[in-house]
Structures are given as structure tokens and as C-alpha cells.
């Protein structure tokens, strides 16, 4: 079903154990799961031929600076990756992407607008898409329960 992006969400868990929490004041995210392809074209081929290599998971986010929400900047300082969840629409909470990621952040402040933040992320472990969304968070919750 086609849904609006108005109810998108970016969630993050810095320690990979606690359940991810929504980062507030974010208004856009973008993720790429592009494959690398190796050119294996040979003599007599009538067109170029490729084989897939590794999938590269990375992306970006943006929003407004909110002094109550420093998670993006804290993530940018972290030496270990956190768990990142990207949800297109919270009315369909079982659809999304998640995985371990390194995040960074930058801020853009000018006289004629609210300070804006943006940043990028890169995978730091396997990522799952809509088919397996929530499994990572469930494993983390279980691990937290076992640790308690």
C-alpha cells in the first residue's frame, strides 16, 4: 500500500542492547542498498555481462536541531556502532530496515532559518529489510532480558 512519508521515523540504540528509540525532529531519511557489479563480459558476448558483488548499505538523514535531542551527535562520537531502524510510515510498523551502523552528524545554522542537522550512516554489520524487520530489535530485547 502506498503511504505518506509524513509518519516516517528514525530510531537508534547506541549500545545495540537497549531497544531503539525514535530520534525526534527528523524529517527525512534515505537508504541505499545498491549492489556492486563486476564486469565479466567475454569475447563473443553480444552485450556486457555482470555478476553481483557485495551490497553496500549506507544512507543519510536530516531534520532540525533540537537541544533536547543530541543522539545524532553522540552517535557521531561513538567508537562502536549502534542499531539503526528506518521506518517509512509508523502506521505500518512492521515495515522497515534495520542493522548495526555508524552514524555521523553535521549542523547547518544560518540567520534566516531554524538550524538544520543532517548526517550519514554506513552499515557496521548485516542489515535486514522489510521481510526481517524487527528481528534485530527482538533479539536485543531478549538479550537485555537475559542480562537482567
Amino acid at each position: 500500500m502506498i503511504k505518506t512519508g509524513r509518519y516516517g521515523q528514525v530510531l537508534y540504540s547506541p549500545d545495540g542492547v537497549a531497544p531503539p528509540v525514535a530520534i525526534v525532529s527528523i524529517n527525512a531519511w534515505k537508504a541505499s542498498f545498491k549492489q556492486e557489479y563486476e564486469d565479466v563480459t567475454c569475447f563473443q558476448d553480444v552485450n556486457k555481462v555482470y555478476i553481483p558483488g557485495m551490497k553496500d548499505v549506507s544512507g543519510s538523514y536530516s531534520g532540525f536541531f533540537n537541544s533536547d535531542e543530541l543522539t545524532p551527535f553522540e552517535a557521531g562520537e561513538a567508537e562502536t556502532p549502534g542499531t539503526l531502524q528506518l521506518v517509512p510510515n509508523t502506521t505500518e510498523p512492521t515495515f522497515g530496515w534495520e542493522g548495526l551502523a555508524y552514524m555521523d552528524a553535521e549542523i547547518d545554522c544560518s540567520v534566516d532559518g531554524a538550524p538544520k542537522i543532517s548526517g550519514e550512516f554506513k552499515a557496521a554489520g548485516p542489515w535486514s529489510g522489510p521481510a526481517g524487520f524487527g528481528a534485530l530489535a527482538a533479539r536485543m530485547a531478549k538479550a537485555k532480558g537475559n542480562a537482567a
Binding site: 509524513r6 509518519y7 516516517g8 521515523q9 528514525v10 525514535a22 525526534v24 525532529s25 527528523i26 524529517n27 531534520g63 532540525f64 533540537n66 533536547d68 535531542e69 509508523t90 502506521t91 531554524a114
Partner: protein, 147 residues
């Protein structure tokens, strides 16, 4: 849920609560239109408005108002003082807002000045003095989803 009209009311309250401005413009401070017969008043008109969104709600709202002292008189006496008083009250000041809203800034975008002949008495003129002001206020961070 905040009401966008709270921003309008906050502007009116700020100007109406000032004794110096009231002395210059005793017929009050009005949004859009003043009562019939008013001859010295402050008029506030919403000129433009825009919302900036975040996931799950509104991040902040920007509103532009024309705020003008309006007077029917033979001369423009006191209009400088009224315009200056409006500027002193609205330029880069703290504007009390309801708890759900947070003021980001309130600034003058440009000064305004105009004059028109009165239709019924050619010896009198309508004088206008003030400025266009931009008010920005942020909305609460609570995440909403459609019910």
C-alpha cells in the same frame, strides 16, 4: 494540541498591554479589522504563513504580520512615535506563548508607511505606520499518527 491562533492572540496581547502605545492609539489593537468608527488604533493582518514539518508532526510555524498604527488625522503627528513603539515592543523580544509553543524569534522584516485621503473629508487623511514582522514558533515534539 496548540492552536495557531494562539500566536495571533499573543501579538495582540503584547501590544494591547502597553500603556504608551495605548496612549498613542486609544482605540485598541485589532486583528484584521477594527470596530466601525475607530480612528486611532493598531491593526494586525496575517500576510503569510508556512509550516515546516518533521516526522509525525509540525516542527515549527512561520507567520508574517503587517502591524500598523492607523490614524485618521489632519497631520501625521504621533505616527513616528507609534511606529517606533510597535518596533520596540516586537523587535527581537520575548513574546509569552502558551506552554505547548516555544518562541523561536520575532523580528521586523521591513518597515511600513503609507497615507491615504479620507473619502468623506478631504481635510483628513489615514496614516499608517509600522512594520512587517515575522514570528516563528516551534511545536511540541510529540509524535502523532492518524487515528
Amino acid at each position: 494540541m496548540p492552536n495557531t491562533s494562539d500566536l495571533d492572540r499573543a501579538l495582540v496581547a503584547k501590544l494591547a498591554g502597553d500603556a504608551a502605545l495605548t496612549a498613542l492609539m486609544p482605540d485598541g489593537v485589532w486583528m484584521d479589522i477594527a470596530p466601525h468608527g475607530s480612528k486611532r488604533y493598531v491593526r494586525i493582518r496575517l500576510i503569510d504563513a508556512a509550516n515546516e514539518s518533521r516526522f509525525g508532526g509540525r516542527a515549527y510555524q512561520t507567520k508574517a504580520y503587517d502591524v500598523e498604527a492607523v490614524a485618521l488625522n489632519a497631520t501625521s503627528d504621533d505616527m513616528d512615535a507609534a511606529g517606533a513603539r510597535i518596533e520596540a515592543l516586537l523587535e527581537d523580544v520575548a513574546l509569552p506563548l502558551p506552554p505547548d509553543l516555544a518562541l523561536m524569534d520575532l523580528i521586523q522584516l521591513r518597515p511600513l508607511r503609507d497615507g491615504q485621503h479620507d473619502d468623506r473629508d478631504s481635510s483628513l487623511h489615514w496614516f499608517f505606520r509600522g512594520g512587517r514582522y515575522q514570528l516563528r514558533a516551534s511545536w511540541p515534539d510529540s509524535f502523532t499518527t492518524p487515528q
